[in-house]
């Protein structure tokens, strides 16, 4: 599974993307976030502000309950600020 980080999540985690292999019990976006936070201090720090980190699965916005499949592209980022 490919995970992407944007904006200050990228600077906090220190990487723009990584390949991850979470255990089988990680089946949703929210569970992936908790799993990432457990082993990545930068991500845990970003998660400390509740409700700020947003997600997309295969380039569409996704809520924490969104199911995950092998091969998904999952992105994490703060609220968007374009325009």
């Amino acid at each position: 599974m490919k995970v992407l980080y944007f904006a200050w999540l990228r600077t906090k985690t220190g990487k723009a993307s990584e390949e991850v292999s979470p255990p089988a019990e990680v089946t949703t976006v929210g569970e992936l976030m908790e799993w990432l936070a457990a082993s990545r201090p930068g991500f845990a720090e970003a998660m400390a502000a509740p409700g700020v980190v947003r997600a997309a699965v295969n380039q569409d916005y996704a809520e924490p309950g969104h199911p995950l499949r092998a091969g998904d592209e999952v992105a994490f980022f703060p609220p968007v600020t374009g325009g």
């Binding site: 600020t81 374009g82 325009g83």
Partner: protein, 147 residues
Amino acid sequence: MVRVQEAPFDPGAELLQITRGRTDIGAVASFVGLVRDVAGDQAISAVTLEHYPGMTESKLAEIEAEANRRWPLQASLIVHRYGRMLPGEPIVLVATAAQHRAAALEACAFLIDWLKTKAPFWKLEESPGGDRWVEARSSDDEAAARW
């Protein structure tokens, strides 16, 4: 049409292109977003727009399609830049063309309001105090929600 590009663009030339060779358009509305040299009490020397290649284009296309569903548009254009840019440079252009002004004006406001809350761009401001990621504003959510 949607374009996401690093290169600067000329808003005037883009608008001329929309009506070139056409005599059926009665109204063109546009919005141009520019880099400001000030944010609150901070001087801004440059901004860098980060985006999510692929998702950016598909979200902008969805927003444009929604505008075309809601209003009888004869043409629509979204141009959004990414990368580093200086005060005074255009960041984004939204333009709509219709037979009458109400559709063009409303669709233009809709496009920029939805773009600001739904297109995956993030703004980093450079100032003498250091670099700072711009925070999302609740007023932008409210502007998008009115549509």
